[in-house]
């Protein structure tokens, strides 16, 4: 009995190793260019239970199949918004057997694309240049490039921007396409100082600071006030707001001091604080 029992696993192993050969299904359709979702691919095959998968450049798409009378029909269905056109591979699989068929896929319905308008640089400082490069193209929902009317696929332009400080948009409804013209450096540093009797203090005002195009210099720009009297030096740092900096200095402490403002490498005239 024991000897007979030994045959059981041996038989099972032999049976497990055997495999019925599967013939590669024969593609009946003539054209290798297929339109989606219009076309259907037809195969001759004696085997059943096939699964179909279409591999495009960027995604695998499962296809619906129907089999009857030794013929396998693969219905090509698009992904959401169409399909990325170009060379693709159709895979037919049953069990662990896989067969591949090269095809070229096209969208049967051409959808309207959206225009992409790229700008570089996105931030422009008029201290250096107002030049900007623009590249435009149109892309459909399935990320296929569409031809620009009479201009090929890409339009490239060199632009000179308006020097007015603002946030601009290449596409009005898309914040991501925004580009920026920033203020440049100030051309000079105006400074004024006046005595205020009411609170016995000096009011030192620096500004308005404007760049060479008349734009107000950026908020936060560091303005340094240096006050000197004898060997004593006061170093006051202020950040510009709306082109101006103002500082109140108690008169009893700062009377007789020379005051000078500076921004970057620009210096104001020197004023003496007096009543």
């Amino acid at each position: 009995m024991k000897t007979h029992l030994l045959y059981v696993p041996l038989l099972l192993m032999t049976w497990a190793c055997s495999q019925v050969p599967i013939e590669k299904p024969v593609l009946v359709s003539k054209s290798e260019i297929v339109s989606i979702p219009a076309d259907t691919l037809s195969f001759n095959t004696s085997h059943s239970e096939w699964e179909a998968m279409l591999y495009t450049h960027i995604q695998p798409l499962k296809m619906r199949t129907h089999q009857a009378n030794g013929r396998l029909m693969v219905f090509l269905l698009p992904g959401q918004g169409g399909i990325l056109e170009g060379p693709a591979r159709l895979e037919l699989a049953t069990g662990n057997r896989h067969f591949y068929y090269p095809v070229t896929v096209r969208n049967s319905v051409v959808k309207t694309g959206s225009m992409k308008d790229y700008r570089s640089p996105k931030t422009v400082n008029p201290d250096s240049a107002l030049a900007q490069q623009r590249i435009v193209h149109i892309i459909d929902p399935a990320r296929n490039l569409l031809e620009l009317p009479g201009k090929g696929y890409f339009l490239e332009q060199e632009l000179t921007l308006d020097p007015t400080v603002a946030v601009y948009r290449a596409n009005a409804d898309k914040p991501l396409t925004a580009y920026y013209v920033e203020p440049g450096s100030c051309v000079n540093v105006p400074v004024q100082a006046g005595y205020k009797k009411g609170n016995n203090s000096f009011e030192v005002v620096v500004g308005p600071l404007i760049d060479r195009h008349g734009n107000t210099v950026a908020d936060g720009t560091l303005v340094t006030l240096t006050l000197r009297s004898g060997g004593k030096v006061w170093h006051l740092e202020e950040n510009l707001q709306n082109g101006l900096v103002s500082r109140t200095l108690p008169a009893q402490k700062f009377i007789g001091f020379d005051v000078q403002a500076n921004v970057q490498d620009r210096f104001s005239k020197t004023l003496k604080l007096s009543i």
Partner: protein, 1009 residues
């Protein structure tokens, strides 16, 4: 009837040992099993082993661990313990897996002690030894304070192997040799140190004892003759010894061969890291307490009995030698003998507390022998005969109670003497590392203690630090006696210097984030260009450095695939084989009475031993507990002026202000509220908010019995260096206690009732598209513009540095990262980074001086400079670009080379200037910057108030050289840029060549800094 009684008695005697063993195992399970999970976070090593286990759980056959030290090989530590925890972790969380594993090992250890003790005494004594193992302080400390699972595993299997080894030498049956070797194999795979030293301190005495027992005639010989004969007996058994030795060494080499391969090919060459176990315990009593007194308490208390028993029989000769050597080595640097015997190198590498642990293990049977005798043997009979049973009962009760209190104390050791920072919730840090690709950079923890290993366990992000110093290979770590960067402040100047290197040269290690749990490091981080990013929900502050490159691919140390497989398979196989063969042995080979031991269960002690060993435990433990209670509750803090001052400063140091207030003369006019208000007016700043008291000296003046003045010299350790301070306090004696007389306090009263300040703050907008792609191109923000105003190579004696000035030419605040690359003649390129003499963040159109230290003159000249380049990378900054309040100063020349600056800040901001600072630049008449220096003032300045201080400044113009022969290329964001022409600075020329910029650290409002 008699026969029945005898039978019952025999059964009881036979089973008593096993019953005691079961009781011991049950108590251990109940006691340690419950407590371990809660003591685990406070241990020194548990998280390190959990980290290793996590490694194996993730990458079983890949020994390269990239998460610490920029990568290391896990073959640097025997893997079995970690691999077993890794396997259990597939079913349970890692912490639970560690606890389950360790408690299992503890049970095996108890069995090991039981079997080991049976080599010396009867089963009942062995049972007592098993119970003793549950409550022995060295075991408790190893488990609950050190968390050393591998040490316990190694010891558990070593002890279990010894009876087999003994039987092999006595009975010469191969099965015992096989069993000894398979069990020893597990010990080898678990802990190499136990295996190596176990050969000397445990295996050699076992063989010696077995040879004596196998030759009973030896015991009656004169000691000298005994030794001679022993040598002969050993020589006659050379085949057995040789066989065992060869097989044992083969196993030790083969099972963990990759470890030996690593030791040979990549030897540890680092500077020795100081360890408390090497201290002189008489000088450093805290080390003595932790590493000697606590683990060896019972051994010390019962030393007379142990010493008597272990030297009584010739078969114990080897054990006596082992015990006393271990006891001596365990005493660390208290005597010079351990260093002489071990050698300088081994002494400085080994942690010597493990010798004390081994001494305690060897002593267990002898302690159990005495305790058994004291509870139910000859010692008990003596006490009852000499006095009465009540005396014996009281003595045993009090001894037991005092020891139990001592054990309770050890369990709560972490409460009395905090060993680790409080438990830190790690989820907020994991979330931070997971988002926005923060894992692409390395991080560093500060003030985490050993919990840094737990954080590493739970993330795939890498840190430059680590918690297994034997594996460190970064020169910046191995050349300094620093255990970890995260606790650098405990390593003195060397520790902070090492941390400073990493914080400055962070680009080299792609170190971008610091998780700080200790504000002590804040000044160092801030002045080295780190910005606070966010305070996480768990209170951890995240610091970030701008413009750091992501981690570059690093080539792991090559290791043969075969060795990787060996490492992953053999150690675990050793345990599997041991379990299987043990089962086979128990079923087929175990003899009912397999021991042939001539034990001395009826030990009688001389009176002197009997009295001392009976009374010492109660005296020792009562004294110990009493001392702890006294120090905690009853110490007189104000009995002398010196003590009053010392304790006052101690409370100040630990920020116990209510207690500190109690040191002032009680008065209805001086309340706690007033004290705190006065303190808040003068407090803050580098001292004392970011410092720890390093040393203190008190000099009382005057002979008045009730009032003295005391000069107090204090030295404070800060992350920016040491601060020294001298205070004068008046003390007064009131009702036998000394009190401090509050000093007169006149605060500065600001004129304004409310101050306001208009800030311009910036926020970088995120425009990232939410998709599976990391960052779409549209999201990129331009690099802000910057320009070098000047760059100079200055040589002053052996010092070399690049100085200069850089401008933020953009409309937004900028964070600038500078790097100097020197190109040498031999094609070597060395990089250097700025330290604290630089404003890393600047407002729009703001500029800063900088100084970048280079190598010394000898080295640079020997390498021959070809050219140099300075690189600036910019990024938008959201904070740190406001540098202080209104600064005024006068500069006076003390001599032609020495200037004195008297500076005053008026804080017109709505936040304190926590650490007021100045960035000083020395310029010549042409405007060339010769040096730039940072000065910080230790006292904070509150809003609306003034603060003044004096600074000395040493000029170098005239004795240093401005070297122009090497071309210096300047690059901004990777593009070559022209350095602007240097222009004279009229303001500096008026101030003896000095120009000053404010550079203050403001701690309160993080969006500003």
């Amino acid at each position: 009837m008699d026969s029945v009684d005898n039978l019952q008695y025999d059964i009881w005697k036979n089973l008593q040992g096993k019953r005691l063993l079961l009781v011991a195992m049950s108590i251990a399970l109940l006691l340690h099993g419950v407590i371990l999970y809660f003591t685990l976070p406070q241990t020194y090593d548990a998280f390190v082993h959990i980290f290793f286990a996590d490694h194996y759980a993730r990458f079983w056959f890949e020994p390269w661990e990239y998460r610490w030290y920029t990568g290391f090989l896990t073959i640097s530590y025997p893997p079995l313990v970690h691999q077993m925890i890794a396997l259990i972790s597939k079913l349970f969380p890692l912490k639970v897996a560690f606890c389950l594993y360790t408690i299992t090992i503890y049970e095996i250890l108890i069995v090991g002690v039981y079997r080991f003790s049976k080599l010396f005494f009867g089963k009942t004594t062995a049972g007592v030894a098993a119970i003793l193992t549950v409550v022995l302080s060295s075991m408790i400390e190893t488990l609950h304070v050190y968390g050393q699972a591998p040490t316990l595993t190694g010891m558990a299997f070593l002890l279990n192997s010894l009876p087999f080894l003994y039987q092999y030498f006595v009975k010469k049956k191969p099965i015992y040799l096989v069993m000894a070797l398979v069990v020893l194999a597990v010990a080898v795979s678990s802990h190499h140190v136990t295996a190596i030293f176990g050969m000397v301190f445990f295996i050699a005495p076992t063989i010696l004892m077995a040879l004596v027992d196998a030759n009973p005639a030896l015991t009656g010989l004169h000691p000298v003759r005994f030794v001679q004969q022993m040598v002969l007996v050993a020589l006659s058994s050379y085949k057995q010894i040789l066989l065992f030795g060869v097989l044992m060494i083969s196993l030790a080499l083969g099972l963990i061969f990759p470890y030996w391969y690593w030791s040979k090919t990549d030897p540890i060459t680092q500077v020795s890291i100081p360890h408390g176990s090497r201290d002189n315990f008489l000088e450093v009593t805290s080390s003595g307490l932790i590493f000697y007194v606590i683990p060896l308490a019972l051994i010390i208390a019962l030393l007379p009995a142990i010493a008597y028993s272990i030297t009584r029989q010739k078969r114990y000769l080897g054990w006596a030698v082992s015990f006393f050597i271990c006891l001596l080595f365990g005493s660390g640097g208290t005597t010079p003998i351990p260093k002489l015997m071990l050698g300088e190198n081994a002494f400085n590498i080994l942690t010597l507390d493990r010798f004390g642990f081994w001494a305690s293990v060897i002593a267990i049977p002898f302690m159990a022998q005495f305790i058994h005798s004291f509870v139910a043997g000859s010692v008990k009979d003596f006490w009852i005969a000499k006095y009465d049973s009540a005396t014996h009962f009281v003595l045993s009760g009090l001894s037991g109670l005092s020891y139990i209190l001592f054990v309770v104390y050890i369990f709560h050791l972490a409460s009395f003497r905090p060993l680790q920072p409080k438990e830190i919730e790690i989820e907020p840090m994991l979330n931070f590392l997971n988002r926005d690709e923060h894992m692409r950079w390395r991080f560093l923890t500060l003030g985490f203690g050993d919990q840094m290993a737990w954080l590493s366990t739970n993330t795939l992000a890498a840190t430059v630090d680590g918690n297994y110093h034997s594996a460190r290979r970064l020169p910046e770590l191995t050349t300094r006696p620093v255990e970890r960067l995260e606790n650098a402040k405990y390593s003195g100047e060397e520790g902070l210097a090492s941390l400073n290197d990493f914080l400055t040269y962070s680009e080299k290690y792609s170190l971008k984030y610091v998780f700080s749990n200790d504000r002590f490091y804040d000044p160092l981080l801030y002045f080295n260009g780190w910005n606070r990013t966010i305070r996480l929900e768990n209170g951890i502050m995240v610091w970030e450095k701008g413009n750091i490159s992501t981690i570059k691919p690093l080539r792991p140390t090559e290791l043969s695939p075969l060795l990787k497989k060996v490492w992953g398979i053999l150690p675990v196989s050793s345990l599997v084989v041991a379990v299987l063969l043990s089962s086979v042995y128990l079923l087929r080979f175990k003899e009912e009475e397999y021991h042939v031991i001539r034990n001395g269960s009826g030990e009688r002690y001389p009176k002197v031993i009997l009295y001392s060993a009976s009374l010492l435990p109660i005296l020792f433990f009562t004294f110990f507990i009493g001392k702890q209670v006294y120090e905690l509750l009853l110490v007189k803090e104000q009995d002398t002026p010196e003590n009053t001052v010392l304790n006052y400063y101690n409370h100040l140091d630990f920020q116990r202000f209510e207690k500190a207030f109690g040191f002032f003369v009680p008065s209805p006019a001086y309340t706690l509220d007033r004290y705190l208000l006065e303190k808040s007016m003068t407090d803050g700043g580098l001292w004392p908010s970011y410092s720890k008291l390093d040393s203190i000296a008190v000099h009382p003046n005057g002979n008045n019995a009730d009032a003295v003045k005391a000069e107090v010299f204090t030295r404070w350790r800060t992350s920016l260096g040491y601060l020294e301070k001298t205070d004068t306090l008046s003390l007064q004696k009131v009702e036998k206690k000394w009190y401090i007389v509050p000093a007169e306090f006149e605060p500065e009263i600001p004129e304004e009732q409310v101050i306001s300040h208009a800030y311009t703050l910036f926020r970088k907008m995120g425009k990232r598209k939410i998709s599976s792609f990391p960052t779409v191109k549209d999201d990129r923000i331009k690099k802000p513009f910057a320009a070098f105003k000047q760059v100079n190579f200055i040589r002053s004696g052996q010092e070399n540095f690049l100085t200069g000035e850089i401008l933020n030419a953009d409309d937004i605040p900028v964070n600038i990262a500078l790097r100097v690359s020197i190109y040498y003649h031999n094609n070597e390129v060395r990089n250097y980074y700025p330290g604290s003499a630089f404003l890393y963040n600047n407002s729009p159109k703001g500029s800063t001086f900088f100084q970048i230290a280079l190598d010394n003159t000898s080295l640079m000249d020997s390498l021959q400079v070809d050219s140099m380049a300075i690189y600036a990378d910019t990024d938008i900054s959201e904070r740190g670009y406001l540098h202080g309040g209104a600064l005024n100063y006068t500069v006076a020349a003390v001599s032609t080379k020495q200037l004195k600056i008297r500076a005053e800040y008026y804080n017109d901001l709505t936040t304190d200037l926590t650490i007021p600072g100045l960035l000083l630049a020395e310029k010549d008449s042409a405007g060339v910057i010769w040096q730039a220096r940072l000065y910080t003032h230790p006292q904070a300045i509150r809003s609306g108030l003034h603060g003044s201080f004096e600074v000395g400044f040493k000029k170098i113009n005239g004795r240093a050289q401005h070297i122009t022969k090497y071309p210096v290329g300047a690059y901004i964001n990777g593009q070559r840029r022209r350095v602007l022409p240097t222009i004279p600075d009229p303001l500096a020329n008026r101030n003896h060549g000095l120009q000053i910029l404010p550079h203050c650290f403001m701690a309160q409002e993080i969006y500003l800094q």
